[in-house]
């Protein structure tokens, strides 16, 4: 099979390029970087912090100290040091006034919130201490505490202080009700709140949003790969057309063979790269998700994965061929860019209709749109990911889009042939028609 010779050559030509190897390695490294670097930075880059707790209520101080001592994580992981101080009782009233003023400032969104706490302001600015937690006298009633620091967006510190104080307050209220201290301690014992939350939201309430996000993610992969390799195929076709080697090639084999070989060869090179990436992603995610109830794992059933592969391949070749038709009908890269733009729009439309799909996956408009070959790879996949439609519809859409892709390939090969023939001659419609009929 001569087409196999061409496929091999095109495939090897791409895969053996340095840029292919580099992008295959670098892309996942960069992706991993974007995902893991911020997490890594928050862990590694943690500085030790000293935070003063001013307790006007007299409730928190003692228990807080005990808790910090008992929990080693506070020092080792969060790297927090607390100095707890009971405020001078006489100044309590004055402090309450300050708090009121503080709240007023807060409401008015005025700067200089630290102004009111003069005695600590300088210490914080001098970095003698990193923050001040103010616990008002009536904290039991208002359930409000205040945290002043240069950096108030350290999410983990904020969380620790909030939950620690909250626990102490709960303990206090419950013991005041004459409940056994053992029971109270059991009642307020820590729960692993973080992962619990995700699980609840992932499976119930936010379900449809999740599916939309995931199918958008998959469409984005499709879109990115098509854009990258479609352009590559388009350039390859232009190059081949203008390259004189083509004379030898078409004197040895059919133009169609040459054209199909080229598209399939470059196409397979693209699939190889995507395959490596997906393999890596599944490998990494498999490890991370081991034993963890991951929303992605919940979403990605085997059935869906199979459909993704099917529609990805159909879409990939359909749009690659569209790009190569553009390549076959122009002579320069500049011209090609102009004609390639509408194809990009064709790819973007399903993203817009997609919102409608997630809400009503079975309205006639959506059904018809998803059977339209150009939209099938994206819209039909979306429908499947939201609510699996009748199998007949899926099968019909696959058959239609494959037929359509074959038609495009045939047309592309013809135009490619005409393009090669037009030495020093602008193609006239009459002549193109003559060549489309020509064997």
């Amino acid at each position: 099979m001569k087409v196999w010779t061409i496929i091999k050559k095109e495939y090897k030509q791409i895969v053996s390029k340095k840029s292919f190897v580099i992008s295959t390695i670098l892309t996942p490294v960069m992706m991993a970087g974007f995902i893991f670097l911020p997490i890594l930075l928050t862990k590694v880059g943690r500085e030790e912090k000293t935070i003063v707790i001013e307790d006007y209520s007299g409730i928190v101080k003692q228990r807080f100290e005990e808790n910090v001592k008992a929990d080693k994580k506070v020092e080792t992981e969060l790297k927090l040091k607390f100095q707890t101080e009971s405020a001078v009782p006489g100044k309590s009233g004055e402090q309450n006034i300050l708090v009121k003023e503080y709240e007023k400032n807060l409401a008015a969104k005025k700067p200089g919130q630290l102004e009111i706490l003069k005695e600590y302001k300088q210490k914080i600015l001098d970095k003698e201490i990193d923050g001040l937690v103010l616990i008002p006298e009536d904290v039991l009633k208002t359930r409000r505490i205040f945290f002043c620091a240069l950096n108030i967006s350290d999410f983990e510190t904020n969380k620790y202080i909030t939950s620690a104080v909250q626990k102490i307050l709960s303990e206090k209220m419950l013991t005041e009700q004459d409940i056994d201290i053992k029971v109270v301690k059991e009642a307020i014992r820590d729960v692993d709140l973080g992962t619990f939350k995700v699980k609840k939201e992932g499976t119930s309430k936010a379900s449809s949003g999740m599916e939309y996000m995931m199918s958008i993610l998959m469409l984005s992969i499709l879109f990115t790969v098509i854009m990258a390799y479609g352009q590559l195929i388009m350039r390859g076709v232009i190059e081949e057309k203008n390259n004189r080697i083509v004379e030898v090639l078409i004197s040895s084999t059919r133009t169609q063979t040459l054209f199909y070989g080229k598209i399939i060869g470059i196409g397979l090179a693209g699939l190889t790269q995507v395959g490596i990436w997906i393999g890596l992603a599944v490998g990494v995610m498999g490890r991370v998700a081991l034993g963890v109830d991951n929303p992605l794992v919940n979403f990605l059933t085997l059935e869906l994965a199979v459909y993704f592969v099917i529609f990805f391949i159909i879409g990939y070749f359909m749009f690659s061929i569209l790009f190569s038709i553009v390549g076959a009908s122009v002579n320069t890269d500049e011209e090609a860019q102009q004609f390639a733009a509408p194809i990009t729009y064709l790819l973007l439309i399903p993203f817009i209709i997609g919102i409608m799909v997630t809400q009503n996956p079975n309205t006639p408009l959506v059904i018809i749109a998803s059977l339209f070959p150009l939209f099938t790879p994206t819209l039909m996949f979306m429908r499947i990911s939201v609510a699996v439609p009748a199998f007949a519809q899926i099968a019909l859409s696959i058959v239609l889009s494959i037929l359509f892709t074959m038609f495009l390939a045939w047309l592309g090969a013809k135009i490619f042939r005409v393009g090669i023939l037009m030495y020093g001659k602008k193609p006239k419609i009459k002549e193109i028609m003559k060549w489309i009929k020509y064997k």
Partner: protein
Amino acid sequence: MDNYVLELDGLVKDFDNKRAVNNVSLKLKRGEILGLLGPNGAGKTTTIRMTMNIIAPDSGTIKILGEHFSEKLKERIGYLPEERGLYRKMKVSETLRFFGELKGMKGDEIKARGSELLKKFDLEDYYDKKVEELSKGMAQKLQFITTIIHSPDLLILDEPFSGLDPVNIELVKDIILEKKKEGISIIFSTHLMAYAEKIVDDVVMINKGKKVIDGNLSGVKAQYGTKFVKVNYEGDSGFVRELDYVQSVKDYGNEMEIELNDIALKNKLLNDLVTKISVNGFQVTEPSLNNIFIRKVNEGEGK
């Protein structure tokens, strides 16, 4: 079996407003070499491209090995296009494999034939080198090898000598003659008539898209008679042009080709020459293809 391996009949091709090929017909006999000659832009390459079905003629018919062009025929033809090209990043071995497979050859066959030809062309040390590492001449040779690797029955060579140094021109010439001995029919185009003269059996000359001469080499030459004299000389030769029995003169400075009205006048010419210039050599020759071509073109334009 048909005696002709290639028959072109009344080919016409227009480009925009220009008629590039105007009613060209030719026939190539089995086992012979036909030279398609003419200056640059005469329509040689266009004629060959039509023969190879790369472009379609506006009118006229083409028969190769007695058939109309088809996919099956492609494997029996070796075609060297005018504008050369190989994949620069491919190794020499991969190049041979690629083009060999395109011509329907098997891996072992390609290897055997390939190394045989590489040896012949003095390229065997480059088997594992990339094409971009070859010099221009070597790449030309490699391209020539890819043209003949599948042992075609018909060779179509467009300007096979262009870009080669004299040593490699000799080599290609030898290969062409060797192929002829193997019974392969060859048509090649060139504007270098002096090279063509040495190897062709038949000649077709075209100028401005039209065929001006067609026939057997010796026949064509005989038709123009042996009326040429080559003279090596020193001195001022301007007077020769004025002699009434001299038809034309091509003067190269210390050598000139003189065409006489009648070869019987050669002694008279020698007498006239020695009175004015110092003659170092005097030889009666056949007209060169170059001379014939120039005459023919001038005739056509009424000069």
